[in-house]
Subunit: 170 residues, 2 copies
């Protein structure tokens, strides 16, 4: 398990490889668990690292109480003012009902506003408010700290390599 | 967005790069959204690929109604019979209450059993039942299909590279 704060939370790669090489032993509760088939599932490892990153993000952004999906929405609205709820949802792969709840929460905090889109009464164009703009500056400072912690964890070169590989599917 | 079934669900890497090179244009609802700062967040891309993989996993394993975390638990119990609930939870990073609910569900399906651990009445040793063993064979056949689909999506070489990189943090 990825340990962001230096305390071991589980099994590290090297120990696991060692465990796989070892003979079958009687089960001692202190022995690292065999990951068996999980070792070949990319989804398993993707999920582990993603959970570790999100935990660090949530912890680092606790002062502003912003979670990863909220952050993504704010960034997209700031960079694409006036776009529709549907466009934001499609771009982020957030399903309609969940997005509606999240936008409602961001409106409640007075960070975004919805205006009826010209020519389509059912659609809403999304904008950041001045307060949202100000909040985003503070949020970005905290996400920069989170990213610096991620470079620390992953290593600068490995982070770039992963980013390159993953962007192909983004 | 990763499109597993060939239907475009969002913006592909190449289009996005093109969009970034383009001049600022008046917002047309058909224009791809700028990802802006999200382009530099590894967590964003990890999450996107992880969600796509999990969706495919859930869809492919629908005939047996097994989700990724349930699968991980079954694999670990099969490979490490007699280990405690706490050890499984630690290895997978699943918090106690959620793991208890999931184990309860697997017991209800008669795939696993909990036996009081020798020397510790509060602890339970986990085992697969004969029915669980049989179910796991079917489940493994379906996960092999899922992995084949992932090789199709990601590419065999890129999958290995990602797996190597991600395992370091697993």
């Amino acid at each position: 398990m990825v340990s962001l704060d230096g305390r071991a939370g589980g099994i590290r790669g090297a120990e696991r490889r060692q465990a796989r090489r070892a003979q079958a032993l009687p089960p001692a509760q202190s022995e690292p668990l065999k990951l068996a088939e999980l070792n070949d599932h990319i989804g398993y490892f993707l999920r582990r690292l993603q959970v570790a990153l999100f935990k660090d993000f949530i912890r680092t952004l606790a002062p502003v109480d912003v979670r990863p999906a909220q952050y993504s929405i704010l960034i997209l609205i700031a960079a694409n003012p006036g776009r529709s709820q549907a466009a934001i949802g499609r771009a982020l792969g957030i399903e309609r009902a969940r997005l509606a709840r999240m936008l409602h929460e961001l409106e409640r905090r007075k960070w975004i506003e919805r205006r009826a889109a010209a020519g389509d009464g059912r659609s809403h164009a999304l904008f950041l408010t001045a307060a949202g703009d100000k909040a985003l500056a503070r949020i970005k400072a905290l996400t920069a700290r989170h990213e610096a912690q991620m470079v620390e964890l992953i290593g600068s070169k490995r982070r770039m390599l992963l980013l390159e590989l993953l962007r192909e599917f983004g």
